[in-house]
């Protein structure tokens, strides 16, 4: 059981979701985050105040999957999120100690398997 965290460009969010659904990965949490990952900063000017924007808008996917689905989830994040430019984001795979589905109390493998599987 792993937690896959994918940080991608906001405009690629829909592509990633589509790729995840195609890979039959159904349990997803999404948040809007700001981050910096080596891409060049952009300069903005507001009434004479010029600033360097060090943080870029990103989307953060959190996906808890059983071991069989780790590769599928990572591939979907890569395929959906890639543009080839600096700033496409990162994927982190973390070991997951425990998972509980609140509605049923199922734990671990049962909790991260989509309903009906």
């Amino acid at each position: 059981m792993k937690l896959v965290i994918g940080i991608v460009r906001p405009e690629k969010g829909n592509d990633v979701l589509e790729a995840l659904y195609r890979a039959e990965v159904r349990g997803v949490t999404l948040s809007r985050v700001q981050g910096h990952g080596g891409e060049l900063d952009r300069v903005e000017t507001y009434r004479g105040t010029t600033v360097k924007m060090g943080l870029a808008e990103k989307l953060r996917f959190e996906i808890a999957v059983s071991d069989d689905f780790v590769d599928a989830a990572v591939e979907a994040l890569c395929a959906g999120g890639r543009t080839g430019e600096v700033g496409d984001g990162k994927i982190f795979v973390l070991p997951l100690e425990r998972a509980v589905r609140i509605r049923t109390g199922e734990t671990d493998h049962g909790a991260v398997t989509p309903v009906g599987k």
């Binding site: 405009e11 829909n14 891409e39 060049l40 900063d41 952009r42 903005e44 105040t49 360097k52 943080l55």
Partner: protein
């Protein structure tokens, strides 16, 4: 414009203070419409394009005012050539405190009022190309379009050109404003092309409150737009003013019903659209039809416009903010229906087909065919020519990043997190890795 004929002849030669006072206010109201339109359009796009979309309307205030003063006004309102006017008023020559012919208001006020129409019409067209057109190319387009398309059609409809000379009725701009913007928008959408994600992803309005507030401001301003088009406080203006209340109200009611039938819910953005459709359909007809017919026109116009709004997104034509449906089709409906229901007992000018004057309907139909044809072809050619000189649209990468950052170096909803002040000392020198996104 024919309502002038109903003014008492004794007043025609001198300034009337009451008329002038109202026209000053009416002009300011129409200027507010352009800002309202900016808000309306900005709410309909994605948040990363908010400022760019708003700026297209603000740019119309800049560019179209200048072109209008330089040459546009003259082409529209100097002399009665059949296709275009002359250059007698170029650079505002002869535009002074004396009354404009046929009105009781100073020529300067008449000029400013007509300028406000040119401005909003240019701004309207931008709705077709938001979220991908380069700002620089848009400025060039706005400048040329305001002269080559708007001023010419204004001459046809209001300035003594062939449509007006043959008796076509157009109270406040069904020809030059509504049909011109709607059918030009269709051409612009075809030349500039669809947004890269159009038809692939849901591209949703980012702030429905802006949309509804913008539509409300437009309706408010439209009382000056239609109510001022009699150039005073005579019967035609009063009739147009009240009809501007009645028609959109009826459009709203019918739109609610259509929404209920189609989706079982009344939508707010639908209501905002209905307000505009109602205002547009009464624009050509305002001072010429009875209040009862104004209500009928408002109700009837909902049907074709609703149909086009439902149909258009299923096509490959990314006419993004539905200028064709809300302005082109509604303006077309207004011009045609006016030819049926105009009543000389209300307007003192002419009857429509229902009151025994088939010629009136014929000339309305001619205007409804000629105007879209000219607007579409002229805009199509103009954009092709501009496109041959400079790129019309942003790159895919820029489109993905958002036009606010790429074109303006600003964001509408900037948080300030991660923003580092660049002081004059460290500047944008080689030590600071900076990408100028342009």
């Amino acid at each position: 414009m024919s309502p002038l004929d109903v003014l008492p002849l004794a007043q025609a030669a001198e300034i009337d203070t009451g008329d002038t006072a109202w026209m000053l206010i009416a002009t300011a109201l129409v200027i507010l419409m352009t800002v309202g339109l900016g808000l309306f359009y900005a709410g309909l796009v994605r948040s990363k394009n908010t400022l760019n979309t708003f700026m297209m309307c603000i740019a119309a205030l800049a560019v179209a005012t200048v072109t209008w003063a330089v040459v546009g006004y003259s082409i529209a309102f100097d002399g009665d050539g059949s296709i275009v006017g002359g250059f007698g008023h170029a650079f505002m020559q002869g535009v002074d405190f004396t009354p404009r012919d046929g009105t009781t208001i100073p020529h300067l006020v008449f000029f400013a009022f007509q300028a406000s129409f040119c401005i909003i019409t240019v701004a309207l067209v931008s709705g077709a190309v938001v979220e991908r057109m380069r700002f620089g190319a848009y400025l060039v387009f706005a400048a040329l379009w305001s002269v080559l398309v708007y001023a010419v059609l204004a001459h046809w409809g209001f300035g003594g050109g062939w449509l007006m000379a043959n008796g076509t009725l157009d109270f406040a701009g069904g020809i030059a404003v509504e049909m011109a913007s709607g059918f030009s928008a269709l051409a612009a959408a075809l030349v500039v092309g669809a947004r890269k994600d159009y038809g692939r992803q849901a591209l949703l309005p980012h702030n429905a409150v802006y949309v509804v507030l913008g539509a409300g401001l437009l309706w408010f301003g439209w009382f000056g737009f239609n109510g001022g088009s009699g150039f005073g406080t005579g019967n035609a203006s009063i009739l147009a003013f009240t009809n501007t209340l009645l028609a959109p109200a009826c459009t709203l009611v019918v739109w609610f019903a259509l929404d209920l039938i189609r989706g079982r819910k009344v939508t707010a953005i639908g209501a905002a659209t209905a307000i505009i459709v109602g205002c547009v359909v009464i624009t050509p007809a305002g001072g010429f039809v009875s209040p009862g017919w104004a209500m009928a026109l408002g109700a009837i116009a909902a049907l074709p416009c609703y149909a086009v709004i439902v149909w258009r997104p299923r096509t490959r034509v990314d006419e993004t903010l539905d200028v064709l449906a809300a302005h082109g089709i509604a303006g077309f409906s207004g011009i045609l229906l006016l030819g049926l229901v105009a009543q000389s007992s209300w307007n003192g000018v002419s009857d429509g087909l229902f009151y025994g004057n088939a010629d009136q309907f014929l000339w309305q139909a001619i205007a409804a065919a000629a105007t879209p044809a000219y607007a579409f072809v002229a805009t199509y050619v103009l954009l092709k020519v501009i496109g041959a000189v400079m790129p019309l649209r942003a790159t895919e990468y820029e489109e993905a990043t958002g036009m606010d950052i790429v074109q303006h170096g600003e964001e509408a909803y900037v948080t300030g997190e991660g923003a580092i002040l660049i002081t004059p000392q460290d500047g944008e020198d080689g030590n600071v890795p900076v990408a100028n996104p342009v």
